[in-house]
Amino acid sequence: MILDTVQTLLNGLRRSLAQPSRTPRMAVVIGRMLAIAFLLCFGTGIYSHFLQDPLPWMVFTTRPVFLYQLTQGIHITAGILCFPLLLAKLYIVFPELFQTPSVKSFPHLLERASIALFVASSIVQIVTGLLNTYQWYALFPFPFRQTHYALSFVIVGSLAIHIAVKLDVIAKHWTKTRSEQESRVEPAPRVEPAETSPRVEPAPRVEPVETSPPAETALVSTSSTRGSGRINPLTSSPTKNAVDRVEGVTGRVFAWIDKTPPAEPRTSRRGFLAIVGVMSAAVVALTAGQSFRVLDGSNIFGPRKQGVGPNALPVNRTAKAAKVGEKATAAGWALTVSNGATSKSYSRAELLAMPQFEVELPIACVEGWSQTATWKGVRVGDLVDSVGASGGVTVRATSLEENSSYAVMRMGPEYVRDNLTLVALELNGEVLDLDHGYPARMIAPGRPGVLQTKWLSTLEVL
């Protein structure tokens, strides 16, 4: 009895939720865009991860200098784009949540569980990713970076399984022409008639809602079937799906819903796509200026704004937050450069007395914002040479900062020997601001901001 009621409810929901935009073809169209966005996020995220935690054999390219700015900008922008795309995809397949029987077999249970995992991890990933750009860590009862990294594999793994499960549907509806042909050929999924009473809604044996324009008209029986015990096949229109179900409160609610004026399929589908397009364009146009200068003018919702900050540049971690103010401004500050037993200390004045080089390099944060700036200072190559290092060497840089996982940074030879890699003393024509790493900081091409170590204390040749 209870099972019957639940089944009736699920069937009713599934029928009433049908919409012209809820078709396998639409799921494929939006799904592949979402898959591309996920894979872009995954690829750029993995690149960012290994830049920060490289495997011993890894060597990175330092050109183009904007490479990390580009990859991390894509990571964050594609992540924001996932909001409209994921919501649209979930909207399309929402009726599938109410399929009956809820579990048909063990593989079906696994399939549904994998989808639940896929959906939950995707939502958690993009929401926490967004909140991370606002640095709202207090909301997470888990560490952001590690969880974000682990979930990325869970999501791409679930995506692969989801594509595998739906591969035949994806193949059928990959192109519009093929999708229409398939819909013409496929037999209409029929709903079995009720066995006991016309008023008891039976379980429909239905596949995902199939609705292409020709199939839609072909599928639909007329109202003559209503109330006769025969029930229409499931289509994309709740009105056409309607059955007599005025019994009880839920029956009345469904009857009320079913009498809603139907949406014309073609217009409805085009409207849906247009809405997704406008949403996607809006979220990108109004936030991506934090990463891409060309969109700075329309950046009204990005958590960072180009040119806003000391030295006309945003700051990720302030001197106050890093608790380095006193040590960084102490008169006795010196940068110690060592190579085995050889060691030299350079005051800021001594560093300024060395050959100075000016470079145009972007600072690109893992949180996605980035900005190109003019940096002036001493080449790291010259500093390591001054302590007798030769050829390709790795350097360990240490910050005055304590209790930070980024206080110590390793820099491979590809960066150390790059002429653009500086110990910067000036930024945008001014003395380096305390929040930007005064008295001296690292700047190298193509690395995440967290590796552009601020408030330098020592450089060790390894």
Binding site: I80, V124, F140, I161, A164, L167, V283, P310, V315
Partner: protein, 153 residues
């Protein structure tokens, strides 16, 4: 699986994808075990469950309700006009989803003047004004075009 009879090509791809997927899931699980303290798993599970409840239980039904109500209320309104209105509502809601947490975090405080430096509440207000204006213009243009078409026929 959604279909029983599939071509050998699809079957091969399917097996390959499932193997890759399971390997990646296992890797994700290993990373989680290695890098995240087990004390945090409950919190993560709560977020997972919360995500499903908020999306499937609240947002989706909310959208369904609004969609049904709009179509009920707009019986005599042409479908394209209804879709334009629905589109504007959806765009506005999505932007709120992204910007309201920004406004809240800024109100709480960031400890860094360059993080969330803009007046997001005012910007969201202006965005809605522009959205309403654009929606009105698009509806007006649609109605004018539809009238002209009817006049021609």
């Amino acid at each position: 699986m959604t279909s029983v009879a599939v071509s050998p090509v699809i079957r091969r791809w399917r097996i390959a994808l499932v193997v890759v997927g399971l390997a990646l899931l296992a890797l994700g699980g290993l990373v989680l075990l290695n890098d995240v303290n087990p004390k945090r798993y409950l919190g993560l599970a709560a977020w997972f469950l919360g995500a499903l409840i908020i999306h499937d239980g609240i947002i989706s039904f909310g959208v369904f309700g609004v969609n049904t109500a709009m179509r009920k209320a707009g019986r005599r309104v042409p479908l394209p006009v209804l879709l334009i209105l629905q589109g504007a509502a959806v765009v506005g809601a999505l932007m709120a989803l992204i910007v309201v947490p920004e406004i809240a975090k800024k109100a709480i405080g960031t400890g860094n003047a360059t993080l969330l430096p803009l007046d997001y509440a005012a910007n969201l207000g202006w965005f809605y004004v522009v959205l309403a204006a654009v929606t009105a213009v698009v509806i007006a243009v649609y109605l004018a075009v539809a009238r002209a078409r009817r006049a021609r026929t």
